[in-house]
């Protein structure tokens, strides 16, 4: 923190020096000169201490700064926590962020925000528990190694939402969490776009788990190697109104659903109990089950098509649409019949899936090569292409 702050000071000094020089030039005709110095313009509620030991925190975590969080942080109902681009937050002692107010993480493509732990293994800290949050926004933010137990031994989602709020998660990375990466247990309105989910869930947990009344869009996400389902669309059976109804399109789901065991196979996309939704242009490769629209889904209000199914393991091919479920192959679908047939042509990928991997192998790259059969086969309402990486550049930016 000190280091980054001094950097900022140096930059500021340079800037003032430059400005002063310019002023000098313009006023050089006169003899008099005025040199002014002001302190750096920090945000009104800048968080300047670099170690946060827990308690109520509000204000701004500064750009390009490094913080250590060593105790549970609570953002009170009337408070906000803003994290500026380039900030790095190391979380230790299994600490967590309890958001009762607002969180806004403002990473950028060039300067992502990073939340991580010194030990690069699942379950190091408690993530963002936004049970009663007012608003949750994460942009270009990496959130790694979450899922440490809560005080009563329960698992913790990377981002858990339990209130009816607006949730905006775009261009983020979720790596190696122990449980769900995003779990929404409320009638929230979600926008989950262009994120990358890698190796989440140890023996359980979905990358995205909507549990009730959720509405919104899930698109252009890349979801690899999750324990359970990549995207789960579910309406509480006890509170069926409002129902979950989301639009899920152009997601690339690869190698999901193996760590929970055959008794609870994970799905690429699961549309379950009382839920409605639209499921188009998704690329589903080597998931335990592919697209599962279960008998308890609100099938009358489910539409789907232009989904792409591929498997390199013969036994998985029978579960693209799992038998007994309501989902059936659509004429607009692209369904591979053998390894090599309708290969989506990832830039980098090896098979078969290895459920024990929690970090994506460096050679994996789910962009598709030119000539991929995914290109141009999408439902144009959403995109002309299938999968998260699209030729029009609107897709995933990672």
């Amino acid at each position: 923190m000190k280091k980054t702050l001094s950097l900022t000071l140096r930059q500021f000094t340079k800037m003032t020096a430059a400005a002063a020089t310019a002023a000098l030039i313009f006023t050089s005709c006169t003899k008099s000169s005025v040199t002014t110095n002001t302190k750096p313009q920090l945000p009104a509620e800048a968080i300047t201490g670099t170690t946060l030991k827990g308690g109520a925190v509000k204000g701004v975590m500064l750009a390009d700064s490094t913080y250590t969080v060593s105790g549970d942080i609570t953002v009170l109902p009337s408070d906000s926590l803003v994290v500026q681009a380039g900030a790095t937050i190391n979380v230790v002692n299994n600490s967590a962020f309890y958001i009762q107010g607002t969180i806004l993480s403002q990473g950028t493509k060039d300067k992502p925000v990073v939340f991580t732990a010194p030990v690069q293994q699942p379950g190091q800290w408690g993530g963002f528990q936004c049970d009663s949050a007012k608003a949750v926004t994460f942009l270009w933010t990496k959130i790694n190694w979450t899922g440490g137990p809560d005080s009563s031994g329960g698992t913790r989602q990377t981002i858990g939402i339990s209130s009816n709020i607006i949730v905006d998660i775009e261009d983020c990375w979720f790596i190696g969490g122990q449980d769900n990466a995003i779990g929404v247990y409320a009638a929230a309105q979600v926008t989950i776009l262009r994120n990358t989910f890698m190796g989440n869930g140890t023996t359980d947990g979905d990358a995205i788990d909507f549990h009730t009344g959720v509405t919104g869009t899930v698109a252009y996400n890349v979801l690899w190697g999750g324990a359970g389902s990549a995207i789960k669309d579910y309406t509480s059976t006890t509170v069926t109104i409002p129902q979950t109804n989301v639009v899920v399109y152009n997601n690339t789901c690869v190698d999901n659903g193996f760590r929970r065991g055959a008794a609870e196979p994970g799905r690429g996309i699961l549309c379950d109990a009382g839920s409605a939704g639209k499921f188009f242009n998704n690329l589903l490769v080597n998931n335990y089950y592919g697209l599962d629209i279960t008998p308890s889904a609100d099938i009358a209000n489910v539409s789907y098509g232009n989904n792409f199914f591929y498997a390199t393991v013969d036994s998985l091919r029978g579960f693209f649409y799992p038998p007994g479920s309501l989902g059936k192959p659509q004429s607009s679908d692209l369904i591979s019949t053998a390894t090599g047939n309708l290969d989506p042509m990832f830039v980098g990928y090896t098979t078969p899936p290895d459920p024990s991997l929690r970090i994506v192998p460096s050679n994996f790259d789910f962009h598709v090569k030119a000539g991929s059969p995914t290109i141009g086969k999408g439902n144009p309402t959403y995109n002309n292409d299938i999968g998260a990486y699209t030729t029009d550049g609107k897709g995933n930016q990672h």
């Binding site: 609570t74 309890y98 549990h211 008794a263």
Partner: protein, 936 residues
Amino acid sequence: MPGFYVRLQPQFCAKIFITVSYTIKAILLILLPVILIESAYSQTGKISGRILNAYSKEGLPGASVSIVKLSIQKAADSKGDFEIPGIPAGEYDITFENVGYDTIVQHISLKANQNLKLYAALDQKINTLDSVTIFSRFNKEEEAGARQREKNAANVTNVISAQAMVRSPDINAANVLQRMSGVTIQRSSGGDEAYSVIRGMEPRYNNTLVNGIKIASPDEKARFVQLDIIPSDILSSIEISKSLLPDMEADAIGGTVNMVVKDAPDNASFKATASVGYSQLFWDEKYIGFDKSQIQPLSPIQRNPRGYVTQPGDFSRSNLDFQYQQAPPTGTLGFTYTHRFFKNKLGIIIADNAQNQYYGNISSLYSVSPVNEAVSNDLHAIDVSNYNGYTQQFNNGLVAHVDYVFNKNNRISINNVYIYSYLAQTRFSQDTTLEGTGRTGPGTGQVFANYRSLTQHEHIENLKISGQHLLSENLILDWAGVLSEAGKRAPDRAEITTDFLINSNLTRTGTYFDGISRIWQKNDDKDYTGIINLTWRTKLKPNELEIKAGGLYRSKSRFNSQDMYQLNPPTTNGNGGSTGGKPAWTNIYDAQWSVFNAQGSNAYDPNSYTAGEKVAAGYVMAKFHQKNFDLGGGARVENTQQNFNINTQSLTALTSANIVYTDVLPSIYLKYRLSLKENLRLSYFKSISRPNYYELVPYTIRGVDFNEVGNPYLKHAVADNYDIRYELYPKEDEQIFAGVFYKRIQNPIELALQGVSGGQIEYTPSNFGTAHTYGAELAFTKYWGNFGITGNYTYTHSAITSPKILYYKANHDPNLPQIDSLHVNETRPLQGQADHILNVSLLYKNVRHGFFAQLAYGYQGKTLAEVAVYYQSDYYQTPMSTLAFSLEKDIHKHFTIFGKFNNLLNTPTTLKSQGTLVVATNIYRASYNLGIRYSH
């Protein structure tokens, strides 16, 4: 001795004052000497025989026989028998006496070597006690005495005597209570813990006393005491007070259950009992047990230094190794020894009763949810959990009592009751999804199998020191100091979860290891109570006025701790790399796991809290006694301070609170004597019910679909109670009671739907405006020669209004009070209320042959078992009938054999929602017990 109690049992003391000076001449009735002459060779003879109750023909234990001329006095044994050998031949006056009975003097002529048999039948005095005495009493253990106490009590009571309990099919207090008028027993699912519901009022509205003093609770959440752990053999009677007097603790709206433990003896006696039994269930099925030898009493962080990181090897395996075995028989063993020393000044009693029982249940529990709220409020089952329980319960009750009579005006007693209960239980459950993920049709879907082992030790100890002092002719002082302690230790409740899937083609996957949870739970509850009462009375001939005042102070502290560990399939393999997920399940010894929360949950566990309560009470009451009526009343003031402390991880949650309130509680009663055998009672009293300790603690327990949240703002309930009862006592052990009652309860407390937050339904204990309950009770006992019938019937109606979930668009009833688009108000009975309760017992007794038999039938009508969150969907226990049978036969002068046979109809309990949807079933099967009693 009993007098020593008197101050502490207000209804009893009231009785004394009612009867004081209300003298009716004793009536001598029958004297039946039978003389047998035997051969005569020595200069002495002996007398022997029995002292009987003239009406019931039952022996009178402890009655005395004396020969004044020889200064010989002897007490009859437990059957009323006596024997005095070595009496020189001659003429004597033999005196037969018993407290509460008329004295008989019989003149005899005894010859050498004669064994003169004498049978003295004593009549009970009508409205006894013609002089002021604080020590006299009726025999609490006899039914006839119980009737007298009901009759003479100032308030509305029902009493059951030890004699009736011994002869009933029942072996614990819970079973006994469920045959009493207006009482049903609420059992936790699985049937282990039993609490009383009185007049449709849940356990929270009743209090439990031992010898008139409130006892600490071994329950980790509530303040009430589970009744199934108290062996009925240590009790001399159970009294239910349905109306309160100012000198009684005020936190009872339904009623007060007072378990009167065997106390001060009049004479020396020794009784012992032993029985064996079996549950039908274990003739039908194997018992499933587990090894207890490796259970750790303390959790890993409790038994290791601070900072210890829990390791997988810290958890034992053998208590999750379940073994099928043949259940051992059930057994009970008990004795009571009484004696008086030093010219009867010092009395002691030691009684112990141990019960070791094996029982089980076969149960199903369904989760239900709306089929389609947009169309209707119909529910359907979405998940079924079939679970079997296999339980060993060992209960031991130990009573020790010492009293010392300094003189006729002063007496001090020490009484200690110690109850210990051990429970070991295996529960196997299989959870099958009926609707939802993984299910594609009938017989398919995910199945979670759970195997749980549990052991727990509970204890209750109640030590009371008390004294009674007749300060003057008009003034009585009595006092008591009580230490009551209770606790529970439930070390290492261990549960494995495994799962498998039945595919759409009905093939089954392998079984996977899902996880293990281990919970160490303990709680301690400690009360210090001090009580003092001063009674002043005067005779305004022929009337009497009594004024009584006193106070009580109690300080309670409670400490709860819970430490939970979650053991998950290993996250790393033997080489340190990540594993590929859940492993296949083989057995507990091969299972590998990681400790998910190595720090345990103790620091922030919602069940780790401390709580305290201080109650200070004072009262003044007066009673005017006149020939035809008693009029009494007064007021009690109770000041309550409750507090709690809990660690919460949430920065904004409450961590402690101090709650203070004071209630002024008036009461008034009139007992009008329509005739010598008839009373008409009218009473009004105000009483309260305090929230349970745990309910105030701001915990949150997150379930899958339901959260349960504590409520520090919960208020105590206050009730106005009205009673009218007509009583007829045709003969001394017969009765007919008919009464009606009405209660108006402000701020009744129930676990309520707080709201729906997203998909999570939140339950919280809440107050609900005003509830009303009214009903009628009828109780009767009647004998025809050797045959008798006893029974009771109660009708209860109650109404409370609370919010329920209903998607209003789907409902077309414009009169329904709508709260918002998803909620309406519904009026329903109070939780736990049954509409009709009927108990009828047929009795046969043949004193001559020492034979007694009882066939007990019970009917419990539709009972609101659980309040559902959905409109018109509460879970009702369907009406049920139970049948039990008991009999006993004297086989020898000192021995009696007996049999107790319970649940002969194999009555299941069934809970239904919306009329027909089954939400739970429990099957227990019959149980049989045979035993032998010795008494001397």
